[in-house]
């Protein structure tokens, strides 16, 4: 997917001015965070589970190469083909190759952010293979030709009425006067249309919430069951997963599953948790004949052992988005790429470079709520600051900020100079009655400096 992150300021302004988006963001605030709080308050061991999950991820990242190899070995034993993709180009070529071998005309897809990251839909379409998203949210934004605005609820920016309009426009073979005012009717219509697609698809592509090293299994969690149909009905199933998705054991996967849905949607567990290990065996009732796993690096391994390694613990639950004041003000599209919110603001610079993404780490009040709610306790504010530091040190910061900071720091290091000059500044500000409408943040100062007055004996 092409990034528009460079235009963050304009993107954000568009989000702020979009009333429908603002209404949707208001609903989001009343939804996931409230449910999350309810479900975790019913689980006394939640904090312990977080600690356990963090320990699992830390241990795995320290030994990532050996767990990935173990995963590969065990997946192969079950009959899987494992492919390693250094970057998006690699992954796209590998996936297209598999589709061509399968003689695929259409491909169904489960929701996968990594597949958005590598822009697989556009690429397949350009090469004559039609991709069909089967997750309801993804299906809707595919019809609208929009990127996802949230990592677990890709169409969260839309109202039911907008979706109904989209369906009426796209499904023009159906009665134009049908009633689509209920969410249920939308779901049923999408299901009916997708059912045919499921049956006709030659290849199914899913992401993976985890890859389990000891068994060579991939795990997906969904609420609609579309993932199961995507991976069992077509002859060929392709799993696309990034390297940090591997966990050592089934037990470890279970620990992470216990915090994932709770942190994400506030469910105790998602409706479906699907494990798939290799192709259909002789006595299996269903399943694909060919099973491929594409393991994508795309810059992540360069984070190992460095100051951003903590980010690789991310399980893409979106709790940090749901609780972020900035995300809730501007929505996900403003971030200009696949990943949004605090996790996106840390991950995008790592994957796309700071030149493209430098606004994201800066556009944060560093309130710290993300770190509080992150099940993996990823120190997101610290990581955002680290990007700011890199941007500043490489001379990226804009001249106005740079000069302003330099002048201010020069004075602040010299109290004898600082105080009289600042006194002039505050007197002027006081005369003006504060920053006025343009800078309401600067009130009319009281006048005088505390330290000076204290020194002169005022109490």
């Amino acid at each position: 997917m092409r990034s528009t992150t460079r235009n963050f300021v304009d993107n954000a302004a568009r989000g702020l001015a979009d009333d429908k988006l603002q209404a949707a963001l208001g609903r989001l605030s009343q939804g996931f965070p409230v449910k999350r709080l309810e479900t975790i308050s019913r689980l006394p061991e939640f904090e312990q589970l977080r600690d356990d999950a963090i320990a699992i991820k830390r241990h795995t990242l320290e030994n990532l190469d050996s767990y990935l190899e173990r995963y590969e070995e065990n997946a192969k034993v079950s009959g899987a083909h494992v492919h390693w993709a250094r970057d998006g180009d690699d992954a796209r070529e590998i996936i297209l190759g598999i589709c061509r071998d399968a003689g695929a005309k259409t491909v169904t897809k489960g929701k996968s952010m990594v597949s958005e990251e590598i822009g697989i839909n556009e690429f397949l379409a350009d090469n004559g293979v039609e991709p069909i998203e089967t997750d309801l949210g993804e299906y809707i934004i595919q019809l609208r030709d929009e990127p996802p605005s949230h990592i677990i609820a890709p169409a969260i920016h839309l109202s039911g009425a907008q979706v109904a309009d989209t369906f009426k426009e796209s499904h023009d073979e159906l009665d134009a006067d049908r009633d689509l005012s209920e969410p249920r009717t939308l779901l049923e219509e999408a299901r009916a249309i997708l059912r045919k697609k499921f049956l006709a698809a030659d290849v199914g592509i899913t992401g993976a919430n985890m890859l389990i090293a000891e068994t060579g299994t991939s795990v997906i969690v969904t609420n609609e069951g579309n993932g199961d149909l995507t991976q069992t009905l077509p002859k060929t199933h392709i799993v696309i997963a990034s390297i940090e998705k591997v966990v050592p054991t089934l037990e470890d996967a279970a620990t992470i599953l216990r915090i994932l849905a709770r942190s994400a949607t506030g469910q105790d567990i998602t409706v479906y948790t699907t494990y798939s290990t290799g192709p259909k065996r002789a006595d299996d009732l269903d399943g694909p004949e060919n099973y491929h796993v594409v393991i994508l690096d795309n810059g992540r391994s360069s984070l190992l052992g460095g100051e951003f390694e903590d980010m690789l613990r991310c399980i893409k639950c979106a709790a940090c988005l749901n609780h972020c004041p900035v995300y809730k003000a501007i929505g996900g599209h403003a971030y200009g790429w696949v990943y949004s919110g605090p996790m996106g603001a840390v991950l995008a610079p790592a994957l796309l470079g700071l030149g493209e993404t430098h606004h994201l780490p800066s556009a944060s009040s560093l309130c710290g709520r993300c770190q509080d709610v992150c099940p993996m306790r990823i120190p997101l504010p610290r990581l955002l600051r680290q990007w700011r530091r890199r941007w500043f040190e490489t001379g990226g910061e804009d001249t106005k900020t740079r000069l302003g900071l330099a002048a201010w720091a020069f004075l602040a290091k010299r109290p004898a100079l600082y105080r009289p000059l600042m006194a002039i500044g505050t007197s002027v500000l006081k005369l003006c009655g504060g920053g006025g409408r343009r800078f309401p943040i600067l009130p009319r100062p009281e006048g005088g400096s505390f330290v000076d007055q204290w020194k002169r004996g005022k109490r």
């Binding site: 004041p325 602040a412 500044g425 009130p443 009319r444 009281e446």
Partner: protein, 264 residues
Amino acid sequence: MGAMNTALKNPIDVGLFATCLVDLMRPSVGFAAARLLERAGCTLHVPEAQTCCGQPAYNSGDNTDARNLAVNVIAAFEGFDYVVAPSGSCAAMIRHHYPALFEGDATMTARCQSLSNKTHELLSFLTDIMGVTEFEAEFEATATYHDSCSGLREMGIREQPRALMAAVKGLELRESGEAQSCCGFGGLFSVKYPEVSGRIVDAKSDAIEATGAETLLGGDLGCLMNMSGRLRARGSAIKTRHLAEVLAGTAPETPAIGEEGDKD
């Protein structure tokens, strides 16, 4: 005044780090803090060499300038038993972020660590360290409280100001469901992304107004200036103050943040 911690050394030398905003924008918070600390039995010092803790530089990624300012603060304050600031975010800067600034420099890290261990935010210092339970203050108003982000999440300040408020005669606390939501200030964030910051403080203002309180109280001047600026721009009559002013009893003689009133 309420119960005090008698197990402490006598006298207790406290360096008051006023913070740059209080120093320049609202000295009355400094005087109120000084009054509270002295009434709690501390011997107060206000080093002249203090300016700013360095957050604007640090949060902009300018660690060199942040370090230089940190060196100033460390030198000015390391001689005291405690360092107290009427701000959770400046106290958190010294306590949690200074040590990280000097990674690799053993001497400076040790000095930072020692300063870090004795640095506190004012309200939590008064309750947790000095053992104060009340200041026999009176303030006839309904008020809502804003938990500033750094104070809340980095310094664990939540119950302390509420305990002190509960003991103020006439003060009725009306909690907002969004008390712990960011006000959108974030230092230079509000300057660089004013529209985004503005939307956040608008949402915050909605929640504050919904409580019906007459006064907004908090423990960090940056956030308070931000919220008062927005509330006033919206035409709200809510008065904004630092809680120290209420506890020290200086509120009646001091105009609320951003208000006219000539006392000089």
